[in-house]
């Protein structure tokens, strides 16, 4: 496979790669946000129980 050709995406490189890039960003954001949602609550639950 020709890498140059592949990257060009038949002349649609800007559209195809920006769509895939954006998808990767949104999936990564979700991953980060969901993790943060869980770990923040775990931390504050731990903090509360150590204060008690």
């Amino acid at each position: 496979m020709d890498v140059q050709e592949f990257l060009k995406m038949g002349g649609y490189a800007g559209y195809v790669w920006s769509a895939y890039g954006l998808t990767a960003l949104v999936l990564l954001w979700n991953w980060w946000a969901a993790r943060r949602c869980e770990t923040n609550e775990q931390l504050s639950a731990r903090r509360r129980s150590s204060v008690d």
């Binding site: 995406m9 038949g10 769509a19 949104v26 969901a34 129980s49 008690d52």
Partner: protein, 242 residues
Amino acid sequence: MWLWIHKFGSPPHAYRLLGKLAPWFGWSALALIVGATYWGLVEAPRDYQQGDAFRILYVHAPSAWMSMFTYVVMAVAAGIGMIWRIKLAHAAAAACAPIGASFTFLALATGSIWGKPMWGTWWVWDARLTSELILLFLYLGYMALRSSFDDPQRADRASAVLALVGVINVPIIHYSVEWWTTLHQPASVTKLDKPSIAMEMLYPLFLMMLGFQLYFGWAISRRLRGEILRRERNARWLQESR
């Protein structure tokens, strides 16, 4: 059955179960999404009309599907929470909203990126695009409504009404391409007769959809665990577990 619902509806049980399930969802989602991306970008043949731009389909259609799927899950969870007063169901509905909003945003954005080379415009106010935009506003409205209450129980009830009323938009999105003349193409996969897309183009799409579905499973597990901890902050099981 009732026993099972009761068991699952109990926060400590759900918390532990979701913690066990999440890694399975996560790793299988990662494997499927990576595999489908490779298949869709490299192996799938070029479309004879749309050229390589059609490959945007592999991220656009799954995110559009997930935007509607997540809303239905959210509305069903909100309905269960309203009728049977199960707090865990309200928590699940609340956990759905940000995930669904992000998928809706992604569907709109990738659709727009596809629209530019194919239709010659980033955006038109046709029925499909407009109803999908309304879906985004429903998610955002749901989250704004929730955050406007200090009391979680009042937030649950008010937002559940919004989620249930808004679900009417989901069939409108799906059938918009049949009911109205739209620039958006009609369904080519979710039809009762044979799909009008070549099988070798379809397999990576199915793979990606499954991957997104599992990814949703992972994200909802993590978020729901967070929600449970927040709501159960004074519960005894939480204090006994350490």
